[in-house]
Symmetry: C2
Subunit: 242 residues, 2 copies
């Protein structure tokens, strides 16, 4: 059973105030890059793994998707997604991605945003997604980048010469990383980038694109804090084909 | 024209004394991992891009390859490879990988060890390799890992709490990195891991395996200095199929 930190009051309150939860997809700096990797959604049966407030589900329908199934472990998120959605072709369901079990060949596109770094058994998950997709279907997801997750003490440091660096260590040591983000004791699962890609390939996917997200110069000009994303990637974007 | 640092007397002298040049393939800690990704070489026409002293060329022939073409920019390395090889089916040639031009569909396997981080136009190179291979052929190479190459000041640091960390910065800033390794002013070309993989995919290769090399516990026990390779990867191993 996956850790359900999301329904803890402090986590949920903090999560609800994140820029990307208040402003939706456009509030996420990596969204333009993710969007450019999406297939044409027209007529597609979409599954969103870790749908949160349902922002992507609604986007998919606005862009022609035939139906969307949004899954999330959090009761509160699913309740909020349902409250914000007025579209009978979008269904939301509480589900543990560690035990994902979808009907075979029932989706034309699978999507996930920043959920898989909470998953312990990523190999099992990719096999489930592979089976749930029809042949030729695309799978696009974002995940916290392993460079961001690996360190025993994540957080930029300023060295004696005033240089801002990211103190990487423990990269090869896969497994849980406990951090205090919105709530105390949030457990994330560090995997090397190689392990993530090899799980996809092992399940039968063809890797199409791997992007270690960094902001554009225009984004840095508009939001100077984003400059630090050029020092070390925080978000990994992957596109694969079944 | 690629920088030919390799023929500078100080570089060549230092290079010749590297453990892996004195002891051959077995002197490279990542070799067991690389070897496990090699296809059956029986009867294969092999090209080795950046063949150095010819260690892999001779290994390939000892393992059944029909022929090997070893390419290197360095006259001194090619001279040494020729002097150490007594096998008319192994050919060595001085060649600049930036301008690689091989006959179409003339090889069954392409290999490269720690040469591609010197290459500026990796996209052009991968296209050339793709054309030179027959359909279904494997391409296995190692390259310095971008985490290792990116920093403006590479080298472990010990923080105030005594922790050894790798000061990552500039990861998204692709392009030359100048270091003093064996000789002053060695120019390497940093690319993100995503860029390297996308170049392969763009050329038409299917990525089969991505390994951010780390030592086994047995290797660390035998050579304790290798433990730091667990903190940040130095070597990336990629296997792809044409």
């Amino acid at each position: 059973m996956a850790q359900n930190i999301y329904d803890k009051p402090d986590f949920f309150a903090g999560y609800s105030q994140l820029h990307r939860q208040v402003h939706g997809l456009a509030g996420a700096a990596e969204w333009p890059a993710v969007k450019s990797l999406l297939p044409d959604l027209e007529g597609k049966r979409v599954v969103d793994l870790g749908c949160g407030f349902g922002w992507f589900a609604r986007f998919a329908r606005e862009n022609g998707a035939a139906s969307v199934l949004g899954l999330d472990l959090s009761e509160k998120m699913i309740a909020r997604a349902r409250a914000d959605t007025f579209d009978p072709t979008i269904q939301y369901r509480i589900a543990d991605l560690e035990r994902l079990d979808l009907p075979e060949a029932s989706f034309d596109f699978a999507y996930s945003s920043l959920a898989f770094h909470y998953i312990e058994d990523f190999g099992r998950l990719t096999l489930s997604v592979f089976r749930a997709l029809v042949s030729g279907a695309r799978f696009v997801f974002t995940i916290e980048h392993p460079i961001y997750m690996a360190p025993s003490h994540p957080g930029f440091v300023i060295d004696a010469e005033g240089r801002k660096t990211w103190p990487l260590d423990s990269y090869a040591q896969e497994g849980p990383r406990v951090s205090d983000w919105l709530a105390k004791g949030v457990v994330k699962q560090h995997r090397t980038l190689g392990t993530t890609l090899n799980a996809l390939i092992g399940a039968g996917f063809a890797v199409r694109h791997v992007q270690e997200w960094a902001p554009t110069p225009e984004q840095v000009e508009a939001t100077p804090d984003l400059a630090e994303e050029n020092e070390r990637p925080m978000i990994l974007i992957v596109s694969a084909t079944r």
